[in-house]
Symmetry: C2
Subunit: 201 residues, 2 copies
Amino acid sequence: MRARKLDTKTRKVQIARAALDLIAKQGPECLSIAAVAEKVGIVPSAVYRHFTGKDAILNAILDLLATTFRSIVTQARAAHSDPLDRLRDIIRRHVRFLSENQHLPAVVASEIIFGDHPERRAKVRDILLEYLGGIEAILGEGQLAGIIREDVAPRVAALMLLGIEAPAAALWKVSGGAYDIVAHVEAAWPIYLAGVEKRPG
Amino acid sequence: MRARKLDTKTRKVQIARAALDLIAKQGPECLSIAAVAEKVGIVPSAVYRHFTGKDAILNAILDLLATTFRSIVTQARAAHSDPLDRLRDIIRRHVRFLSENQHLPAVVASEIIFGDHPERRAKVRDILLEYLGGIEAILGEGQLAGIIREDVAPRVAALMLLGIEAPAAALWKVSGGAYDIVAHVEAAWPIYLAGVEKRPG
DNA sequence: GCTGATAGAGAATCGTGAATCACAATGCAC
DNA sequence: GTGCATTGTGATTCACGATTCTCTATCAGC
């Protein structure tokens, strides 16, 4: 049967979301035009009405990613005023998002970055740097407020914050979900906190 | 010209190493039978004399990986007696190895794990768990020695140790090597240390 | 309801890479 | 040196996925 005719603007969003979902839940090699098309409910060739090709779809996925990370930082800022509370909120939201999109890091790390498209790698870099920048800003504010040690470099601490999640996610994935990543974050937070916070005396 | 005839035992090692090198330095999509064959100096079809297929080669790569991680822990134990020194040595060796094999984590995370081979995923899990176990043992010894806080779970702390490297490596990769990952580890170590070590008072 | 522009369908093309096969060369055992 | 098992070669098959092309259906404006 024939799919309902929808305008490109709508289809573009549908296709990008479907592609993100496929790539995030089933891995990069599952991202085929055919699979995306089926998920959206159209035929493979129809995809080309809305995207020039697979590359364009990958770029659209990155745009979705950038939006997500941006909103994680924004929401954490809105929800808390204490820098340390904001950081904890970020890592919690970060983990929640990645839990729902298991394969995303792997994809971003391999398929997308190491394709033969330098400009796409630059895009990923910009997204990551913006995300880190948002975290570093909060760390800097914590230093100004005197609750985070001045001798921790914001960039290093920002990367370590993300480092709470990364290997745990890997373990979670290879063990088929047997490792409780949310509990891990809760257990890791005090350690991270002890590492960065300024102690009296 | 014709390649020298070598026995399967030798070729197996050559092929596995070549494959690891390709996959680690150029990314998973560059791992083709043709590429491996060329690197070894034989013709694609000759590869099938030694491996039943691509899957078997991937398994061989995992064996190489397991060996490497095992030796990282062993060497760190041999080089130091203090648990904290051992941990720092492990993360340093870990980073050095991964710096020389940039794409490896991405590959292990995506291509290998999320292929449709559950038994391979199990193999990766076992490798990771063994590696973590080695680190946890050292952490446990540190707790017994009274230099690591008893309230840090060894598994969590072991994962966080690896977490020092993971996001930094990602940044390093997307920025084309512009982030100094060795310096990152040196800067991150004191933060990690402050997080896990037992403080007087 | 007509019409043009837009979007979907389906067949066909094209390139790629894994895997197979029959044949040739090599090297060790004797 | 002969023989046989092993290894290497080149051609070929096969499947798959991206892309293109042409035709057809739909929708919005009139």
